[in-house]
Amino acid sequence: MEIIQVVGLGIIATVLILIVKEQKPLFAFLLALATSLLIFLFLIGKIGNVISMLEDLAENSGVQIIYLKTVLKIIGIAYIAEMGAQIVRDAGQESIASKIELAGKVLILVLAVPIIGIIIETVLKLLPA
């Protein structure tokens, strides 16, 4: 029942943030950041198990490792960018948050370019000359 731990941690952290926010908003922000990092850190181990299972599955079914690598990298970038954008948005900097999201999208697109190239090559091969 780890979900109870996570929810309890979240509620306690929220109460503490409300207490500290009146005196020092800066510390409240750092507290929120630390809480979200802790919950993420707790989740990342679980995600790791799922990922390793996915790797085994891909290895057994003969999927080329480059595809799985790219997909995992994209997922990682999405997680990091989302977390960063939300934290910055919490601190009230909407414009920086949207720039972080934009950077995440662009970097994902860059990673996806080789796969898109392979798809186009495959389609061209299928077409009659």
Binding site: A28, F42, G76
Partner: protein, 67 residues
Amino acid sequence: MNIEVNAIFQIAGIGIIIAMIHTVLKQMGKEDMAHWVTLIGFVVVLFMVVRLLDDLLKEIKSIFLFQ
């Protein structure tokens, strides 16, 4: 998870104590000292948070990015 939760309480405690010291110093008329105390407390907490962030990013790198 048990050890890490302490960090939350530590940060909140530092925040409350710093706020208290700030108020006391302000009452004593030492405005500039109060600001320095706030700044130092902030840096200490920032160190803790940055260490957490470092842990998290390392984990993400090792799981997702194969490095």
